[in-house]
């Protein structure tokens, strides 16, 4: 039996507010993206996606995600492992550092790398002397993206690992398992859904990041453009159909992410029973 404490009118008002808000701010924009993308027909839509600059931007975005996600996966698992299973000095400092990118504007994150690696930056002269390009090239994009996505995996895992404690690992040790085997056979399987969840979020952020990447990329078409940057360039050049066509790809990525996220969330809840 369902227990109802609120009068019917209150429930309907609340539901209506939520639905209207959801429709206005989430569904409508999404519909607009696809409508604008197809406003000049399928031919223009596919041409925009097949344009060499668009393909280069997609490739850049893919490469970024392919490097950033594994880096953050390893860092995230290691950091979460350290923070949740061990006590050490500076633990709170590490936790604050993990959260730092969430409280710093992405533009500032990008600027940090310019100040470090740019021509006028701290390491700039040395890099120029050795002919290494970081800012306005792909390494800068990757560094900036790693910076903004650092918390994504670790923050997912820390609460899960904390609540699980260390008893299962200890049990595995007394049963003769080495530390390595304990890690792969007990610790990792216990957090597998948390890892997947973190990776999905991390990937979405890595592919969608605009601010930090915009500062360090230099917007060189066909070379250092990612998809979000490409959308902006096209839009500024009044090619709105093409801009929305590329944007629609990002929107689809978002939808896929949402679906994957809810499936994984359901599995995490199942696993915690």
């Amino acid at each position: 039996m369902q227990v109802r404490t609120e009068p019917r009118i209150v429930r309907y008002v609340l539901i209506t507010i939520a639905l209207v808000f959801f429709g206005l701010f989430l569904v409508l924009p999404l519909v607009c993206v696809f409508q604008n993308a197809l406003s000049k027909g399928w031919v223009v839509y596919f041409d925009a996606l097949r344009h060499p600059d668009a393909l280069a931007a997609m490739k850049m975005t893919m490469i970024t995600a392919l490097i950033v996600v594994p880096c953050n996966l390893i860092f995230g698992v290691a950091a979460a492992w350290a923070v949740s299973k061990f006590d050490f000095k500076g633990k709170n400092l590490l936790l604050s550092f993990i959260d730092l990118p969430l409280s710093v504007s992405p533009v500032i994150a990008g600027l940090i790398f310019i100040l470090l690696f740019g021509a006028q930056g701290v390491l700039g002269p040395w890099l120029i002397a050795h002919n290494i390009r970081i800012v306005f090239a792909w390494p800068g994009i990757i560094l900036a993206t790693i910076f903004v996505t650092v918390p994504m995996v670790a923050r997912e895992l820390i609460p899960i690992m904390k609540s699980q404690g260390t008893e299962e690992e200890e049990a595995a040790l007394t049963l003769g398992a080495s530390g390595w085997k304990t890690f792969w056979m007990v610790s990792i399987p216990n957090i597998r859904w948390g890892i997947l969840y973190g990776v999905i979020l991390c990937n979405a952020r890595a592919m969608g990041e605009f601010g930090a990447v915009s500062v360090v990329s230099g917007h060189i078409r066909g070379l250092t453009n990612t998809m979000p940057l490409h959308v902006e360039i096209l839009y500024n050049e009044y090619q709105s159909a093409a801009a929305f066509a590329v944007a629609s790809i990002l929107a689809m990525l978002a939808i896929v992410t949402l679906i994957a996220k809810s499936i994984v969330e359901a599995n995490i809840r199942q696993g915690q029973k």
Binding site: A171, T174, L175, G176, A177, S178
Partner: protein, 356 residues
């Protein structure tokens, strides 16, 4: 395999968990570490298992110093209070884990592992649960699986940390009888930690009573129960009443009353605290030969193997007594009636320096 710990010291920050503790557990013995929470008993068990390390002191398995042996090399079966079953594995895989992680050269074949797991499931009487996951089992079932898992690696010693602590009373009783029977058949050296005196008294060959990181007393259950060496052990092992009194040869003076205390010899009169177990009181309707304390019955509960009687003396002291059902039938006491209380025996008397 015997276990010996020598002069163990352990500190957690400022907290002194174990103080110069030495103890030997003989081969084939079932020994209970009994004490209140925070007394260091679990820490000692974890040090034996290699899950924690002493600041000073040594651990021996037989003649072998375990100093450089990791937890995974000590050959101990460890059972946790909260089971610590691998949540993502079936019951079968949980039990097989210890064999599956062995190096390829010594690992039994799949068929051998399967046979061994089924054998252990039969031992704990849960064959039908092989394909379930831990979250599908009850607490008692989980703990039996945890025991089977610990036994699968043929441990040299079995270490149990409050194994029945999170189970309800009925299951707890069943499991500790099972453990006793299992030990009688397997004779595996077993060290088990508990804060439940009843559990320790019922199951163990020998009890070590601990308090604040030290051993207070060691002995058979009978020994520690009947001949406690100090007030702490006495208080910890069962209910007890105490009286401030003055002791003279064979007698205790409580207030204005002089009570006979059988079997008590005193060199010279001194003030004391007298400890009396609930079953060491004699109640009667009439003042007998000796003198007795006058008391009013405040509460009678005949539901049980013994009859519990709460009394209040004239001076306002409360007495918790237990009498047999026969005595109760004979006395027929009810609430608010007056009775005379004398002593059949005392458990322990503590010499006090000053007059109470």
């Amino acid at each position: 395999m015997s276990i010996e710990v020598r002069n163990i010291h352990k500190k957690f920050g400022e907290f002194q968990a174990l103080v110069d503790l030495s103890l030997k557990i003989e081969t084939g013995e079932l020994l209970a570490l009994l004490g209140p929470s925070g007394c260091g008993k679990t820490t000692l068990l974890r040090i034996v298992a290699g899950l924690d390390f002493a600041d000073q002191g040594q651990v021996f398995f037989g003649d072998q110093d375990a100093q450089n042996q990791k937890a995974s090399e000590r050959g101990v079966g460890f059972v946790f209070q909260h089971y610590a079953l691998f949540r993502h594995m079936t019951v079968f895989d949980n039990i097989a884990f210890g064999m599956n992680v062995q190096p390829k050269k010594v690992r039994p074949s799949r068929e051998e592992i399967r046979k061994k797991v089924m054998e252990l499931l039969k031992l704990v009487q849960l064959e039908w649960l092989a394909n379930r996951y831990p979250w599908q089992l009850s607490g008692g079932q989980r703990q039996r699986i945890a025991l089977a898992r610990a036994l699968a690696v043929r441990p040299r010693v079995l270490l149990l940390d409050e194994p029945f602590g999170s189970l309800d009373a009925q299951v707890r009783k069943e499991l500790r009888l099972w453990l006793r029977r299992f030990h009688d058949e397997s004779h595996i050296t077993t060290l088990f930690v508990t804060h439940d005196q009843e559990e320790a008294l019922e199951v163990a060959d020998r009890i070590v009573v601990m308090n604040q990181g030290r051993i207070e007393q060691m002995g058979t259950p009978e020994d520690v129960y009947h001949n406690p060496v100090n007030a702490f052990v006495l208080n910890f092992l069962g209910n007890v009443n105490f009286f401030h009194c003055r002791l003279v040869e064979g007698k205790a003076i409580i207030g204005d009353t002089v009570l006979d205390v059988p079997g008590l010899s005193v060199d010279k009169p001194h003030p004391a605290k007298l400890y009396v177990r609930p079953n060491q009181f004699k109640l009667s309707r009439y003042a007998g030969k000796g003198t007795a304390l006058k008391a009013t019955v405040e509460y009678v509960n005949p539901a049980g193997t013994v009859v519990k009687v709460n009394l209040k003396t004239e001076t306002g002291e409360l007495i918790h007594a237990e009498i047999s059902q026969e005595e109760y039938k004979h006395l027929k006491i009810v609430k608010t009636e007056q009775v005379f209380v004398s002593l059949k025996d005392v458990t322990y008397s503590e010499h006090l320096k000053n007059n109470p």
